[in-house]
């Protein structure tokens, strides 16, 4: 109640401001007159009376100001101050432009990276209550998270006590009939309750009903919003339409919400229930599914994991042949989805934050110098009656104007950067980061922008305000800027530049390490020659190419068509391209070696006879496959060196027999050769033992083509597609790409490269800002010391000793900055350890080159002012006073 009355009284004062002022003045004037009259009545002369009255009354201007402040709203003063601040900044456009530019740069970098962090790590996943969802999988020694098998899933689901919903999904490559021919599309197969467990409701049509994931049920599919819009032009009667997938008509029963995504699968346009189990899926040892589950209330992930582990152990006893070593893995779903990208986004965000910090430090330094130069102005204003609070407020207002301008420009620039970065991310990478589609200025991002602005204002106003509070106005008034550089400035300003240089070192070292790591990654030994290779994914419809003989025949036709393309030296087939990742594994057992039921998990790749020659892989011993290794001849196998080392130490593997764990006679194959390790896994992954089988003996209707060309491999990519289509228009093809592109765009290389570019960019800017900051500090110091230098030279100092004087000052700051920076850099690098490949965080060459680079730049930056100092004309310098 009181405060309301108070507010209205205050409002009253504000509305009658003119009256308030004139009345106050009248009242004060009357007071003095009265006093004078009384004094005169006491016999004092009029002159002396006037004087005495004034003295007794005090500083009238200041008292008026104080009275006004007592009743004024804060805002009123701010308006005045802002007008003044703008005038001040206009008077010194160089300062204003530099400061705003630096702020814009820092804020834009920081905001855009924060927007990425927000979209990826902060924004909740588009599911109901996403924190209660878990990723459920099996676990084996080589894969901490490995696929579930259908049979295991059925048992887990039956036995579990911790989930309210437990469903599975798996990816599916599908061939879609379109008016322009067959197109491969991405799909996924799920158990019927999948979307219910996630808590996702279709925006059109309906979800799968329970029981629709059985072979008897009619074929149904849900489509994504994007597919509905792009492929079906958003038509309203989409529900009930039929799509022909893999030659089978499927009814579209619903459309998924626009913001739905499932990053673990990447892109999937068509979602279908798991109805018909394929041959593999009928076996308990066929692992191709992942689970998603919703935890019961009060159940933690750890409890769920314990439950799944006990079930897995039970199944291990029950089915020792298939389930030996098959454990369980349960993780929060969000960890599984963004766990991999979290460190990279955080590192990049920290880089941007450091850049912003350096920009802020630079601007505060400029402000300090300005405060130093405006000491006299402040002193005069103080003497004229401005209270200390009012003077501090003036600084706050000036920083406010700077920060607001910087923030506004920064937000616009950040928007541009975000758009640009999104355009630069290739779509196939984006498929695995679908949450980035939601990259916007969310309220969180805007809130963050506000927070940054507030912090910046606080920092900027603190520096000069500190300066104000610690000095005596009278001293400033009399000295009036003629003194040597103020001690406060010397104390703070130079320390600030050390901070800047240290941050620059941290960013430079980070960029250096990531660049080196990227270089290492691109130079890992591949085991083949990646130049002049072109690749293409091929999918033949199962309806026409179901039998192995048909598939083998198709592969021969494809190879001969491809080999006939001008410029193609050799053509070959594999079921999975190198660099695409370890996986597609099999369990092996070596005849004649002791075996205790363990699962020897190795990569398995059926390849055509010309595959190794096309890749230019090196044969260690034995022979490669030939065309005569076919269905009629002895079953053969080639192993890689890693397998030879692991399973045949000190033994010649040639002629040995490898089979399935049961040594089923149909599975036995004779080793005919050992090939050098081809990097099947991603660049940063370890080399796994691998076996290669002849495609002729182990065919499939999905495979990849690899051709070696004599000229630019890029040019033959369209020819590959048309050659395959010529054989059968119903064959789908996808992703024509060269091996070089495949390596460059591989997720590991992509992440490292983007990180290297971004952190490198931040580091370059930090170097620039740091060096400019140092230049500013030294140049300012020289300008303040002109007189001192003049005196020294008049007293006989040599020019060289003046150089020394200045360079010593700069050198000391630089060395402290570099040393502090290197110490921080080692710590920071430990923080990015997860990102680095083949480089230690204390990589000496990187640290040394960073120190040299920064030291050299600092030397150049301080040489310019040193030269100016040395060329001071002592006569002029002294006379200027």
């Amino acid at each position: 109640m009181d405060s309301i009355l108070w507010f209205f009284r205050k409002l009253g004062f504000l509305l009658r401001r003119e009256k308030f002022n004139s009345e106050l003045e009248e009242e004060m004037a009357w007071h003095r007159e009265q006093q004078e009259r009384d004094l005169e009545a006491d016999g004092v002369t009029p002159d002396a009376a006037q004087h005495a009255a004034k003295r007794q009354f005090g500083n009238e201007t200041r008292l008026r100001e104080q009275s006004r402040e007592a009743v004024m709203f804060g805002a009123e003063g701010v308006v005045q101050d802002s007008r003044f601040a703008l005038r001040q900044l206009r008077k010194n456009p160089g300062f204003a432009v530099t400061a705003v530019l630096m702020l814009t740069l820092g804020i834009a970098a920081c905001l855009s990276l924060f927007a990425f962090v927000d979209a990826a790590l902060i924004k909740p996943l588009p599911y109901r209550d996403p924190t209660r969802l878990a990723d459920v999988a099996e676990s084996v020694q080589v894969f901490p998270r490995s696929n579930l098998s259908w049979e295991d899933y059925r048992d887990w689901k039956k036995l579990q006590k911790v989930f309210t919903g437990f469903d599975v999904w798996t990816g599916a490559g599908l061939l879609l009939n379109t008016p322009s021919g067959v197109q491969p599309v991405m799909g996924a197969r799920v158990s019927a309750g999948f979307f219910n467990t996630l808590g996702v409701k279709p925006i059109l049509g309906r979800d799968f009903r329970s029981g629709e994931d059985t072979p008897e049920a009619p074929r149904t599919a849900l489509i994504t919003y994007a597919t509905w819009q792009q492929r079906y032009a958003g038509r309203s009667d989409i529900v009930g339409q039929t799509a022909t997938l893999d030659g089978t008509p499927v009814t579209i029963v619903g459309v998924l919400p626009r913001d739905f995504h499932f990053a673990l699968r990447g892109r999937a346009d068509y979602w279908m229930p798991i109805q018909e189990l394929n041959g593999c899926e009928k076996r308990r040892s066929c692992h191709n599914l992942f689970g998603v589950a919703r935890l019961k209330d009060g159940v933690t992930v750890a409890t769920a994991l314990a439950n799944m582990k006990s079930i897995a152990a039970q199944l291990e006893k029950q089915y020792p042949a298939s389930n030996r070593g098959q454990g369980a893995a349960v993780k929060p779903l969000s960890d599984q989805i963004v766990g991999d990208v979290r460190p990279i986004f955080l590192v990049l965000f920290c880089g941007a934050a450091l850049l912003l910090l350096i920009a802020c430090v630079n601007v505060s330094n400029l402000l300090l110098v300005r405060a130093e130069n405006r000491r006299r102005e402040m002193a005069v204003r103080g003497a004229l009656g401005a209270s200390r609070g009012r003077l501090v407020l003036q600084w706050v207002t000036e920083s406010l104007v700077l920060v607001l301008a910087g923030s506004a420009l920064g937000i616009v620039t950040a928007y541009g950067i975000m758009r640009l970065l999104m355009r630069l991310i290739p779509t196939d990478i984006l498929d695995y980061l679908p949450y980035l589609q939601g990259l916007t200025f969310s309220p969180r991002v805007l809130g963050f922008a506000a927070l940054v602005a507030l912090l910046a204002i606080a920092i900027f106003s603190a520096a000069p305000a500190l300066r104000l509070s610690s000095t005596d106005l009278r001293a400033d008034l009399s000295e009036g800027g003629r003194s040597a550089a103020g001690t406060v400035w010397r104390r703070f300003g130079s320390n600030l530049v050390v901070v800047e240089l240290a941050i620059a070192v941290v960013l430079l070292a980070g960029a250096g390490l990531i660049t080196r790591s990227f270089y290492q990654l691109l130079h890992v030994s591949l085991g083949f020659a990646p130049d002049h290779l072109a690749t293409l994914e091929v999918g033949a419809p199962e309806s026409t190419y179901a039998k192995p003989e048909q598939q083998v025949q198709l592969s021969h036709r494809v190879i001969s068509e491809l080999a006939a393309i001008p410029g193609v030296e050799s053509a070959s087939i594999t079921d999975r391209l190198p660099i695409s990742g370890n996986g597609n594994t099999t369990w092996i057992r070596i005849q004649g070696h002791p075996w205790n039921g363990e699962h020897n998990e190795v990569n398995e790749r059926p390849v055509s006879s010309g595959y190794f020659a096309t890749l230019k892989a090196r044969l260690i011993t034995g022979r490669f496959f030939t065309e005569s290794d076919d269905a009629k001849s002895l079953q053969v196998i080639i192993i890689n060196q890693a397998l030879a080392k692991k399973y045949f130490p000190g033994e010649d593997p040639i002629g040995k027999i490898i089979g399935s764990p049961s040594l089923d006679p149909k599975s036995l194959r004779q080793i005919v050769g050992v090939v050098d390790d081809i990097r099947e896994g991603q660049l940063q992954e370890e080399i796994w033992p691998a076996v290669y089988t002849p495609f002729n003996q182990d065919a499939d209707n999905y495979f990849d083509i690899v051709v070696r060309t004599s000229q630019a491999e890029q040019a033959v990519l369209p020819d590959l597609v048309s050659a395959v289509r010529k054989i059968d228009p119903n064959i789908g093809t996808r992703d024509p790409i060269t091996m070089a592109q495949l390596i460059n765009n591989s997720p590991a290389a992509y992440i490292q490269r983007s990180a290297a570019y971004l952190v490198g960019g931040f580091a370059a800017l930090a170097l620039l800002l740091g060096v400019v900051g140092l230049y500013g500090v030294i140049a300012y110091s020289v300008s303040r010391r002109t007189r001192e230098i003049g005196v020294r030279m008049a007293l006989g100092a040599q020019r060289s000793s003046v150089y020394q004087l200045i360079l010593k000052e700069a050198g000391l700051l630089t060395i402290i900055g570099i040393v502090a920076g290197l110490a921080c850099a080692v710590g920071a690098a430990a923080f990015m350890g997860k990102l680095l490949f083949g480089v230690r965080s204390w990589d000496i060459p990187t640290l040394v080159s960073v120190a040299v680079l920064l030291g050299f730049s600092a030397l150049v930056a301080s040489f310019i002012p040193a030269r100016r100092a040395a060329s001071v004309n002592p006569v002029e310098a002294l006379r200027a006073e």
Partner: protein
């Protein structure tokens, strides 16, 4: 720069309120009254009355109106409000507590 006044902090408001409790007065009158009653011991920098008066007005402890003085000039007279009287009570008891406390310290020392 000379100190504004040698009063204890917050005392000026108390003195003004106490003075006005006797009769409505203008600013100059308040200054004279404080000076005379304290037998010239408390001489405030007279101008500092005015910021203090604005604060009191804002708090609603005093109200102001323009009246004619005996010399036929317009002057602003300040009157204590009911809220001001209550406030005066508060301030007085606080002040007495403080004085008593100081007294105890001085006696002990």
């Amino acid at each position: 720069m000379a100190k504004k006044n040698d009063l204890l902090p917050g005392t000026l408001d108390l003195l003004i309120l106490r003075t006005l409790a006797r009769a409505p007065l203008h600013g100059y009158g308040i200054a004279l009254s404080i000076k005379n009653l304290s037998e010239d011991v408390l001489t405030v920098e007279e101008g500092s009355l005015y910021p203090a008066l604005q604060r009191l007005l804002l708090q609603g402890w005093v109200k102001a109106e323009w009246k004619m003085t005996e010399t036929n000039r317009r002057a602003r007279f300040y009157t204590l409000t009911a809220a001001g009287r209550k406030q005066l009570g508060h301030e007085l008891s606080r002040f007495e507590q403080m004085i008593a406390a100081i007294g105890r310290v001085l006696q002990d020392a």
